[in-house]
């Protein structure tokens, strides 16, 4: 397996740390005026989902994690597993709750998601950057308040709650950025 030197560290690089594949979220170089430099990294353990901070001596190497990303369409949830399918081979993969926990509220049937596999087991599911979901509940907008003072909360069909502008109403379909949870716009039907 390839190893990576600390000067190749960047967000998104996958490393084996404490026997578990991890994803670098942030990497910062810490350099004293003279002397040993360090890398301070924030990493997400891909199996447990835990986010921890680690330090490395700059110049050291760390084993890369043998993980693979594949694109699969979301099918359905059977109560225990979330099922995905390769649209070309029709091969199916089932992911457990630990793998989908951060993405459940963004899973839309037939949307193509990225599954991270480690030893052929899905350990993380990343939804598309943008999803379209129907609003199931939101307060009617207050008249006259068009200045957009932060909007109002709206519950979506998956249970996700996002802030939307006051003019957006129940029953409308909106586009949401799954990376930030921000409202992007209304979808014209």
């Amino acid at each position: 397996m390839a190893t990576f030197s600390t000067n190749q560290f960047k967000a998104g690089l996958k490393l084996m740390i404490d026997g578990e594949p991890c994803n670098i979220l942030e990497n910062e170089n810490v350099k004293p005026g003279k002397g040993q430099a360090f890398n301070r990294v924030k990493i997400r353990k891909l199996v447990s989902g835990k986010v921890i901070e680690k330090t490395f001596k700059s110049g050291e190497s760390v084993e890369g994690a043998d993980v693979m990303d594949i694109e699969l369409a979301y099918l359905y949830n059977d109560g225990e597993f979330w099922h995905f399918m390769n649209n070309e081979t029709f091969e199916q993969v089932a992911a457990d709750e630990k793998a989908v926990v951060d993405s459940i509220k963004w899973l839309v049937e037939n949307d193509v998601c990225t599954l991270t596999l480690w030893n052929n087991n899905p350990i993380a599911v990343t939804p598309p950057n943008f999803v379209e979901l129907e609003i199931t509940e939101t307060d009617p907008g207050l008249k006259g308040d068009t200045a957009g003072t932060g909007g109002k909360p709206a519950t979506l069909s998956t249970g996700a709650v996002v802030r939307v502008p006051l003019f957006v109403q129940t029953g409308e379909v909106i586009r949401v950025d799954t990376r930030t949870g921000d409202y992007v716009g209304r979808v014209q039907k």
Partner: protein
Amino acid sequence: MWQPSASISTLKARSHFLAAIRQFFASKDVWEVETPLLSNNTVTDLHLDAFDTQFNFDVTGKQKSLFLQTSPEFAMKRLLAADSGAIFQITKAFRHESAGRFHNPEFTMLEWYRPNFDDKKLMAELDELLQFTINAKPAAYLSYQQAFIDYLDFDPLTTELTELKAIVSQHSDDEWLQQETNPDTLLQWLFSMKIEPCLGSGTGENSSDDWTPCFVYDFPASQASLAKVCQSDSRVAHRFELYYQGVELANGFYELQDHQEQLRRFNADNELRVQAGLTKKPIDSNLLAALENGLPDCAGVAVGIDRLFMLKQNLTHINQAIAFDVSRA
């Protein structure tokens, strides 16, 4: 990407800032020098890497390496040994390492030397420069030993390796720290991670108007670099650093004059390089010859100008303080 990474108004402010520095030194009769960016030799420091360039037109007819300077220190000391008197320089310096919020591989350095000054006197002058150029409050002064006692409750000069590891383990369970055999690495880890971010802050709760520059002086002799070891306490050296808003801005020495001691330190550095699997660096014989001829009793300091300007302007990234960062260079 053709556009500058700093705004034009920021770059104009930078021009005024540099002019103020020159004015400061003119008023003190410290004259400005220029020394080569390309040098036949470089530093031996374990943790510094120079850019190595190829020169094809040497008089010997052979290809050879010329190094981009990591600081103008050696050349300026040769001027001092040739009786230059007090000198300063604003120049580019280069370090072969990754860019970051506070680092660009090519950066601007202010360096100056004062014959008949010791480290205390030079710290006072740098303090004055900060007040003049960035309107800083008068600096605080803290010994390296006291910094550890104040922030981490132990004495770095008397603590053994095993004790040090026990202290480190209270802050991190990273395995490599427990396997580390060099006590200085652990001290540098604690200093960088736990002390430095608090330095140069005021007495209040990180309120930004309350920042006070902070000098840390009397570094351990094992981290002396090019400083004289203290006569009254051989555990420490006359080396200081300046911190402001949690950022390291300057490093200074009451300069080592003994050429044999200097050669010994260069060789020791190279030994450490070999142990770490790095190549030895050629030792600067011109510097050693200059020291042998006689370097005046003097103190010198190098200040990171891009960082200082960044803090003066309340910028969040060093790219915003320089015209073109390395990715746009």
